[in-house]
Symmetry: D2
Subunit: 116 residues, 4 copies
């Protein structure tokens, strides 16, 4: 079951089930989950901490490095899904809504190839 | 189109389209994206920075606060999806694989109601 | 040599010496150091990740926990000092200048006991 | 009063005074302060978010950019000093102790010019 055949709701349910089986909802309040997302994001950053821009392609080529990076990304994603579960936020609408907002803020013509 | 009817691949494509229209792929290397996830996670944390655990329920009840929190969560999600796009990581498999790994590390019986 | 008898410049020199002996200045650019401060800050957060506000006092009472927390705080501080060294920022003036700015933004009378 | 003539204790007192005048000690528990350090570290990162390694020197040359970066660094430092105040951690001993520990972990000869 890959991204092509998995709905966001299915991923949310997988995480919700894991939390429920351990009775961890009591710890998963929005403050702790925002912290947890930040903590896992930092562990993801660690993989690139001392690399120059021109070293990134080589560093992400090894299957072993990629596996570790994938696991860290999954950790961020799990807490993000749990956060969405806790506050009952629909992620798909949230992302689409934010892209519309950002498209107004950064019109494609003006920002082509420039980030500011 | 909500989480129930949106595949992870569809969300990835929405973000990829946004980036492509602005020719921003050049900036979206794994190091910059890991930083960006962490930066947006910090903006999410800001909403809870000074709140005690017992104040969280009230603070997340107002529609205005919820809208801002939803927007910050969307920002984290957009960069996370772009990271997955850049390194071609299948998020659904990554999350499922990590949950299996975590289930071994934290057996439900032993960790019921305890996080350590 | 404790905080009472150590100047900020002495701490900066201790860190600069450590970096110089390893020829690590090449890695200590402002981007990598800002990331490193954030990474170590996340490791500091980890100690409090799942604790409720009312559990913090007990959790920071054990000498073993305190030693670990002190080490994480030192890691943040070392990268912060190295950042100041790299961009030749005087930390004492920077802090005093920011406190004056914040005192204007948060007048003591108006913000007594309130953070917003 | 610059880094050459300021003790760490003097900086700590400046921050403690600011907090005390506003009766903000109640908010400055270790969890909130660790979050705050991470939040300010993220704001510092933002200045370098989309820059390649070879663009950093130019980007940190303008006095206006440097002033903003100095203010963000001061924010990280203020919360770090408040954290040290709250848990009564001596920063100078903590840094020296950690440098000794790191010197054992990364012997200068072996790690000259290499970070791993």
């Amino acid at each position: 079951m890959d991204d092509q055949h998995t709905t966001v709701a299915q991923l949310r349910q997988a995480v919700a089930g894991f939390i429920h089986q351990r009775r961890w909802q009591q710890f998963h309040d929005p403050k702790n989950l925002a912290m947890s997302i930040a903590i896992e994001a930092a562990e993801l950053m660690e993989h690139f901490q001392w690399l120059r821009s021109d070293q990134l392609a080589a560093a992400t080529r090894s299957p072993r490095a990629l596996r570790q990076i994938r696991d860290e990304l999954a950790d961020v994603m799990c807490f993000l899904l749990s956060f969405a579960n806790t506050l009952e936020i629909d992620l798909s609408s949230a992302v689409r809504h934010k892209l519309v907002k950002n498209a107004r803020k950064y019109p494609a013509r003006k920002y082509r190839g420039r980030f500011q």
